[in-house]
Amino acid sequence: MKNDIILSGVGGQGILSIAAAIGLAAVANELFLKQSEVHGMSQRGGDVQSHLRLSDKPVSSDLIPHGKADLIISVEPMESLRYLPWLSGEGWLVTNSNPFINIPDYPPVEDIITEIKKVKNHIIIDADTIAKEVGSARSGNMVILGASSWFIDMSEGSIREAIKNLFGKKGEEIVEVNLKAFMAGRAYTAGIRS
């Protein structure tokens, strides 16, 4: 088993909470894991990415080789395209449809969606709306994780458990909202992998 995942978004969008949830689940599943994060300058509204590698064998490189990623999980549509050089031919791209516009030359969203649709295996999900529907606009990241979860070789239960651990300190209510968001995202793409 091997999952090479690229997480992408804009600094401040909190992609590391997705990484942390997957990481905790991987540890519970006794998988080998390497997760490269971006800290420092780019966190100020720049493009950020994280390479996340899970395997049942030891992982050597902290970085995923070009053309070898199984999955891109993006919380922002334009950012999902920035990492296409890493995506394998059979890999999946799962992205939020809602743009984060903090640059003057942000392209028309339709043009971005057109490009995403050119990727063989893609899922575009309005995570912001789904998150609001389940009760917290801030849980969009867990919606996207849910939508991506079919492509991560770990059980639903173990990822749910990781979300509980991740948000446990913030109280029962926050845990519930994030679990709901995860399940809503997962339901959105149910049956996709068959």
Binding site: F32, K34, Q35, H39, R44, G46, H66, G67, E115, K118
Partner: protein, 534 residues
Amino acid sequence: MKKLLLLGDEAIAQAALDAGLSGMYAYPGTPSTEIMEYIQASPEAADRKVHREWSSNEKTAMEAALGMSYAGKRAMVAMKHVGLNVAADGFINSAMTGVNGGLIVVSADDPSMHSSQNEQDSRFYGRFALVPCFEPSNQQEAYEMIFDAFELSEKFRIPVLFRITTRLAHSRASVSGREPVPEKKLTLPEDPGQFVLLPAIARKKYKNLLSTFETVKYDFRLGKYNNFSDGRKRELGIIACGIAYNYLMENISDAADDFPVLKISAYPFTKELIVDITSRCDEILVLEEGAPVVEEALRGILDNGIKIYGRLDGTVPRDGELNPSIVARALGLPVSFGDNVPAVVKMRPPSFCKGCGHADMFTALNEAVNPFGPGRVFSDIGCYTLAALPPYCSIISCVDMGASVTMSVGAADAGLFPSIAVIGDSTFTHSGMTGLLDAVVKNSPVTIIITDNSTTGMTGGQQSQATGRLRQICEGLGVASEHVIEIVPLRKNHDENVRIMREEFEYKDVSVIIASRECIQTATRRKRTEASAE
């Protein structure tokens, strides 16, 4: 022991705690910051009262750590690579004095300059200072090495350099811990002259250092991390240093028996190791992160020995961080690639946060300086360096910590008017104060704007030594009190702030404008903590 999921930085911090650390010293700098942050957040460090306060800069951190070592306890100091330039005086002379308690100097290099102004390789400093240098390839090895580094340091009475790079510092992996070692007791050095580098003593100590450096390479603690595994092929042998070893294994793990591989993770290494692999192979490929330190040593000036591939002949790019694809190409293996990035994707450089005080300060400054023309605002290192980019395009320099002040003084010496420096509060107390003293002593007609967000913002909001002390410091250094002016960079104060700036430009001596507004990131965090405490 329990397995922990740790960043490379955190593995180093946890290892130091487990190895009996008594004092951690640092100034924040990407990618090294999380070492101190981990120790500050550790309940165990709090219980043991391990020293864990930030220092004003890397030099003060280095020297304080040396003081802790003098008192016989284990100390560690951490910084980013350019911080080692600041600490270099203390660092290089600490090799001369030697240590009492074990002393580790962690320097986190940033190849490809993700968050830095150069990509200097700290291994040069090891060679320069004649101290041993560890270079771990992964988080677990980093953890193990810290124990050996302390022991090596105490055995040879020498500081140990610990070189990591961004990718290890900020990559998380599972790490198994060891049984903790108790802290050392306070014990003074046997030789009261050990730390007295008077020429007569220093000459003796230098001879000792030279011989120690030769001896230390045969210590098993270094040898343990430099290992050779033979392979079937004789055409190509590979030398891989530190994290480059991971990229190599990523590419050849299915055929690891094929290639003779020498992994180097500790310096200085013995000549025998190199002779061993080069005598078996027709050609050698050197893979190292950063500068071609090992490759240059192998080639020498004449470069008339065995054929060597590496960064110097273009087999590997001369600059920038390694990755698995670059290493695959160097090995002549097929390189995969996904699709190109579509043209619709635009650059997204970092920018000021919404509600950032620096933004309003630069809007005012741009208007104030506009009549004088471009090229008059020197600046420094921090979030505010982003004002070099559109839409502000306010500043013309970012060189090293504190250089805004001193460069503005030099430009004023040359006749530039107005000559203005913009420096952050933490950068000012790091290295701006001495430059301000120079300006005061010679009555330089400069305007220094301290853009004060009451934190070390760029690295994530660590304590700033300047908080609440800026006026006192400036007046204490001799700036006339009526020309230490405090403003609040808010939109509603814009016109007033522009007027004040222009007035101070016209003042023919040193003036300091302190533009204070709390960092929006730390303010948000503070409000959230206060709310949850209620």
